[in-house]
Amino acid sequence: MKRKAGYLRTLPIAVCLAAVLSAQTESREAFTGRNCLGCHSERTKSGGFVLEGISHSDASLRPDIWEKVAKRVRAREMPPAGVPRPQESSAAAFLGGLIAELDRGGSRAPFAGSPVIRRLNRTEYTNAVRDLLDIELPLDAELPQDQTAAGFDNIGDALSMSPLLLERYLSVARRVSALATGTGEASPVVEIFPATGTQAVWQGEGMPFGTRGGIRVTHYFPKDGDYDLRAFLAKESLTPLEGVRFFRLRLTRMKAGSHTVVVTFPDEYAEREGPVLNVGGPGGPAIGGPLDVLGSAVRPTIEFRVDGRRVKLFEIGGMTAGEAAFDGLPGPPALGRIEIAGPKNATGPGETPSRARIFVCRPGGASASDEGDCAKRILAPLVRRAFRRSLAPTDLNPFLKAFEAARRGNKPFDVAIAAAIREVLLAPDFLFRLEFDSADGAPGSGQPVTDFELACRLSFFLWSSIPDDELLDAAAAGKLREPKMLEREVRRMLADRRSTAVMDNFAAQWLGLRELAGVAPDKELFPEFDAALAAGFQTETRLFVNSLIRENRSVLDLLRANYTYLDERLAGHYGIAGVTGPGFRKVPLDGASGRGGLLGHGSVLLLTSHSTRTSPVLRGKWILENLLNSPPPAPPANVPPLEEKTGDGRKLTAREQVERHRANPSCASCHDRIDPLGFALENYDVIGRWRTKDEGGPINASAKMLGGTEFAGPQGLKAMLLGRADEFVHATLERLMTYALGRELDARDQPTIRAIMRQTEAAEYRFHDLVLAIVRSAPFQMRQKQER
């Protein structure tokens, strides 16, 4: 195997060396004395780091110090440039001895950490409600955004409770329990959905192809019955018919449950509908036609769709955009908002999946005890799933109490069940992931978590949700820890649809993709960019990472994959031929395509650009931060200005601008690490297209690292990174572990990470292997007892 991890190659040798250390190589004291202590003394304290006076005899007593030393020496960042370097062999021996000793310490007393109880974040809350009550509601939008720490929004330390959040919980629990049981008020309610973003273009994923602007909502219809759907034109757009500002459609006999409603402007269509109902303008019924994006002489049409089916086409008439433009009027018409009003003529709660899930029993007899038994039979499985454990006899009491109180208040049976479910959703046992220390053992001592706690750790790691019954049953039977069972469950969970949570929550945050929504390149310089392209970028990366997870590929494929997912538009954008028709599909890539791996994804390239030009600095920083987990320090204050032009007035290329930066030695100390990585990606422009020159001149994509390694272009960069595969995998594991454990890692976690790397190296770090190794590791299986 040619491309084998650097330090793993040297490690066995180093371990051997360590064994005969005293006889054949210099001592650790001698090494640090010669290479480190000159700067890291009590007196000089370079970088605020002191090595002098730290015991050199057993490194595992001070992992906080020695892991730092190991990391910097391994990355060849220490000793720094300009200082004589130790001989490679003596550095390797020093490093090998150090790591072996740290790892021995780690296996002697495995570090597990004692994470604080974690509140469900809003994604987890939404998924938990979905899996508990079989109801899909966009609750995450109803809850305040969670605070992030260590790059993720599932870190216990940062997940606080606040009055605002509690008020939202109270309100959301009220709504969810009413909707799931179908017991909400039958009186009609008007829900308003305003248009967002620019309405001049296709609204992206989920909208019909060939439409402009519009609104798409997934709305939960609370009852069987009729609903009014109203579409209002935006204030500033034309009034097609005098006095007509909205168009109404009665949706009759809608089934309770989730439906997708789309109102939009189609670019073209074949058929026509008759006179428009409910439009009583002075001109009589409206006659119109299709609308062209750029405003050719066709007349606006509004289309209504429910669950993907066109249910109505209004020819709304009015001026064409061209006529409007001639008169200096704004246009073409755009939607302002839609409203869904209902239920009207409600006929009942309907047969929804939630009601089927909840009402596993109906009270038969009239006696109170019969009814109480029935309530118990309904609530027991729900509460077990919500609390993710077997129930103690008293666990149901508060909920039965709520049920009984409602019944005493003459509320119908179903409403009383809703009241009980609402309290379940507010219980700390639901809202928090509780883990209890066992009574024995001193604070700090490690102890395995219970099987139920383990089931929870698994489901929140892989599904961002609560365990299902199968997982709970395995835990209840005490079998979850059996190695075969554990592996089977992990593989089952990874194969389950819910594991897309790993992409949406772990990978999206890891790679910074959630930030993509806020990135908008300059409209004048990049008129090709629109919502559809942005959505395409997202889709490509999502499908790509999901495939890697689903197909259990090596995480190295994130860098080196020879395939990606494209639709016609994105393939055209990238200059890849042979992809036609709508929809994304897997596309094999060859070397000539200039693509393959995340570093060729439009999502990443756009995310790391300025709005008007590329930024080798941002791209380099992104690679250091996300792929090598070695973020550069924040820039210092008082950075001198850079020049944008040369003496003769020619504009500088992006690279030339950055090069000037690096000419300043105080900038260069960091930028020599950052910029070369970004230079190699200069062939990609702001929106990820391939280019061979920019405003300033031809692209120079060659780069030279601090240590002297040279490479050029994306292929060269990838080869260089794959040559440092150990660092990339180490970084990936650190991010994945942080997410899995919900706490910030520290030096004591490093032996575990190195152990996982050794276990998974032979099969080239396949994703499932990494997950399994994490799941089997001490920090995942155990916790250390907290101080009382």
Binding site: Q145, A419, E515, A520, D522, V639
Partner: protein, 435 residues
């Protein structure tokens, strides 16, 4: 009127809901709560923080002259009509540990706390607004409000500027519809009976949660207990809201329709949030609030100013002319919006003066020179009179950049009746604000 549920007499509400609540507690609270109202002698005092991100072009921000004779700068010109009710300040810094490099998360976390945020965990310090809210929040439905126009935390460690305790950052609301519903009830419909029933159901749910938490705390370690304690504190806050709501007398408020959602245009969004803040103050729903124009390091752009580049990108101007011009243009717009808020507050009479006269609002940015993330010599303005305790119409230049901003906060806390000896890196009070 849309807030009718707020003045339902407590007892009616209890009877109507048929639920037995902690009456003794309620009775005990009444004397303490009837204390001050809008008398001329002791008008309600309010404390606000309006923060804009990413600093200023200092050359076009700094006023000319000093003291009462100062001249408005280009960036501050829109605020000229309010000259008599504001104090402009320079030379104050929020840079707790001067040996540390500045960055966005730090600039945000230290701005209201004066504390150097810990690395690798959430540990900062209580923020000035929350300190005030402990006292000023006792009588209102909401101890404080935290508002923005964007989701507050993007990126690595942005937990926001407001901390209820060192380890409890508070989330921000940016959706006007949800803010409206939080302030005035859900559904946008007038139904006092339904609101009362909701409050009663909430109260009873909270009771059973409180019981359960007590059981759990006995079995958990210290770190976990602290997390649950946050839950308990939030419950107390919500309970107080329910109780205050049940006994507050009606206030004359203008009608306002429930906003549909987040407006497309950013200035409209800011104005709507200002309208709602005004309403919340007018109805005395809160006396302490923080409003962020946008999140830290925001990437929004400003089509209404013909600026298509993102704000964050502009702020790293590197002293290039184009970007400095854009930044200056944004600064003017920010002042214009704040002037809108001040006019609004000043138009609402309270006794013999106005809502603005009874408020004390800090308006400023947590960065001064954004291109280098500098938190020194910040652009700061105090607006409002704190009920006659602050004399406006002045520009105060503090020499150098060594004076901690927290010194100003101590003085502000004095002015609103919450005297405090130390906050973060404070070294004493500022003594130049006296009337």
């Amino acid at each position: 009127m849309f807030i009718q549920q707020k003045y339902l007499p407590r007892r009616t509400f209890l009877r109507g809901a048929g639920v037995c609540l902690g009456l003794p507690l309620l009775e005990a609270m009444v004397p303490a709560l009837t204390a001050e109202k809008l008398t001329a002698a002791a008008p309600v005092r309010r404390l606000g923080f309006v923060i804009y991100p990413l600093g200023v072009d200092q050359d076009r921000w700094r006023p000319k002259g000093e003291g009462a004779g100062f001249q408005f700068s280009e960036a501050l010109a829109p605020l000229a009509p309010h000259r008599g009710k504001m104090v402009v300040m320079s030379g104050l810094s929020s840079d707790p540990d001067r040996s540390k490099a500045g960055f966005h998360d730090r600039a945000l976390a230290s701005f209201l706390t004066g504390v150097e945020p810990a690395k690798g965990k959430v540990h900062v310090g209580i923020s000035v607004d929350q300190l005030a809210a402990r006292t000023l929040g006792k009588e209102t439905q909401f101890a404080s409000l935290e508002l923005s126009t964007e989701n507050n935390n993007g990126g690595a460690a942005h937990v926001g500027p407001v901390f209820k305790s060192a380890t409890t950052p508070l989330p921000f609301e940016f959706n006007p519809r949800r803010l409206f519903e939080r302030l005035f009830g859900e559904g946008g419909r007038i139904d006092p009976a339904a609101a009362a029933a909701r409050d009663a159901a909430d109260q009873s749910s909270l009771d059973s949660v409180t019981e359960r938490i007590a059981e759990l705390k006995a079995r958990l370690g210290a770190g976990d207990r602290r997390k649950l304690e946050e839950y308990v504190e939030s419950i107390r806050d919500v309970e107080r809201r329910i109780q205050v709501a049940s006994r507050k007398r009606p206030t004359d408020l203008p009608e306002m329709a429930r906003p549909a959602g987040v407006p497309d245009s950013w200035p409209e969004h800011v104005k709507l949030m200002f309208d709602l803040q005004t309403l919340a103050l007018q109805a005395d729903l809160t006396r302490v609030w923080t409003f962020m124009y946008a999140r830290e390091a925001t990437s929004i752009n400003y089509p209404h100013l013909d600026i298509s580049m993102g704000h964050h990108e502009i702020s790293h101007h590197n002293f290039e002319k184009d970007k400095l011009d854009a930044l200056a243009k944004i600064n003017v717009d920010q002042s214009r919006l704040f002037a809108y808020f001040l006019s609004k507050l000043d138009s609402i009479k309270e006794g013999n003066s106005t809502l603005l006269d009874h408020s004390l609002i800090l308006y400023g940015s947590n960065l001064s020179v954004p291109t280098s993330h500098s938190q020194r010599d910040l652009p700061i303005i105090l607006a409002g009179g704190a009920a006659g305790r602050i004399a406006g119409g002045r520009y105060l230049k503090f020499p150098g950049d060594e004076t901690p901003l927290t010194n100003l906060y101590l003085t502000m806390l004095d002015k609103v009746g919450v005297p405090t000896e130390k906050l973060g890196d404070s070294t004493g009070r500022l003594n130049r604000l006296e009337v």
